[in-house]
């Protein structure tokens, strides 16, 4: 006889996920106890524990010691089409502050990332994003001076960098090349985000071009991995 495709713990973890959805559980809501879940789904406590463990790993739930299991905070899902966190539907739960603004010269790294000559003049704009409990993202945006010649800190603080470019410079962002990788927090990043050094982070970075193919923006986000996700629709 063929082995069962789904092991009991996997099958149960999916059933619990479905239950959370169907019964409209919200972030912060408490799950039924292990014993209750075992009764509800007619399985052993051990299976329940296995399933909950899987849900902890994918951050569907969180556990509070001596209290129980709770629905995890909702991830902020970023659509790959919208380039700005600010403008996301979910951004209601986000607060943001301008952390740094300066005009710099492209070093070797920036020059190669942005395909610009070294020493090119670039604006560096850093925003910090928090949800109601903690800092969750450092967003660094680099804008070549030729895109926005007279950018000032005051203007930079008035709106997200992408909005500045599209609204104030009448630039349509037409092309982008983005990627998501895993990285571990260095000392500086860890300090800003108030997390241990070497904590895993999602690095989301990308280049955006205008209609003529000129580079308009290079951005790098360091994000807490359990607070973000990406969604996209692809048509072949």
């Amino acid at each position: 006889m063929k082995k069962k495709l789904l092991t009991l713990d996997v099958a149960l973890s999916k059933e619990i996920k479905y239950m959370l959805k169907e019964e409209h559980y919200l972030p912060g809501d408490k799950l039924p106890s292990e014993r209750k879940l075992a009764e509800l789904f007619h399985v052993q406590r051990l299976t329940v524990r296995g399933a909950l463990n899987l849900l902890l790993q994918d951050k569907t739930i969180i556990s509070k010691p001596r209290s129980g299991y709770y629905v995890a905070p909702k991830r902020i899902l970023q659509s790959i089409r919208n380039f700005s966190l600010h403008s996301e539907e979910d951004s209601g739960q986000l607060t943001y502050e301008l952390y740094d603004f300066k005009k710099i010269e492209a070093d070797n790294y920036l020059a190669s990332e942005m395909l610009l000559p070294e020493k090119s003049k670039i604006y560096k704009i850093v925003w910090l994003y928090s949800d109601d409990t903690q800092l969750i993202c450092i967003n660094t945006t680099y804008i070549p001076e030729y895109i926005y010649p007279d950018l000032t800190q005051q203007i930079a603080a008035s709106a997200p960098a992408i909005d500045l470019i599209t609204n104030n410079c009448q630039i349509t962002l037409a092309k982008s090349n983005q990627k998501v990788t895993l990285l571990y927090a260095d000392t500086k990043t860890a300090q800003i985000l108030n997390i241990p050094v070497d904590s895993p982070l999602m690095k989301y970075k990308g280049l955006m071009y205008d209609k003529q193919g000129h580079l308009a923006v290079f951005f790098e986000n360091n994000m807490l991995i359990d607070r973000f996700g990406f969604i996209r629709e692809v048509v072949l």
Binding site: L56, I80, A174, S176, K179, T181, G213, F230, V234
Partner: protein, 245 residues
Amino acid sequence: MSNDDVLAAQIKSSIITKIKTQEYLPGELLPSERDFATMYSVSRYLIHDIFDELISQHYLIRVHGKGTFVRKPEQNRVALGVLNESKNASFTSLVRNFGIEISNKCLGTGIIKNRKYFADKLGLSEEDEIYGIHRIRLGNKEPLAIEFTYVPIHFFSDIDNYNFEHISLYDYMKSKNHLPVKFNETMVMVEAGEKLQKHLHLPSATSIVNYIEFIGYDENGNLVEYTESYSRPDKLEVRFVTNDI
């Protein structure tokens, strides 16, 4: 030096940097000379010359009728995007053709019934049968990803007769006129449990993996695929390219 020479040197060094930093991955198809020319606002001939130089310096190779690729060293971070099987190369969720040898190891197949979660994902009712395929995707024999794919049996009644270690699932789905052509994808990073660690040969107990969920629709809008894919971030890079021009 003329202006063009300066520009050429800059473009060339930035391409080399991108190869070294693996912005361009080994085996990756580069944008066409025409696209590069547009990107830098220079002539195609200039780009052609730059490519020629990079080819002679073993950074790139040109394949007649296909384009210019980043030369592959012996081993490296392999592919990008997601290990789907579509032939469509650019701009998709899908792996571009990397010239690495992709193989599959089947962990199990079987019918699922009365599982609300999966029925819901596939837009089916609980009693409808679902066929599941669990596979490890390997690149040059190294595990890159593990994929749990579920399809509605009513579109694929003879699916159990096929072995998807050797046959492309998408070729099969195409033969049934239910090839997915539209995908809704969600990507997050999650902690890998023990089983994943074992299957993906992950180094440590706290490894993070890419998790991508696909919902696939065929050209008539039928929901034909639900896939959960876990991949190694050190082996597979998730990239998105958008182009509205």
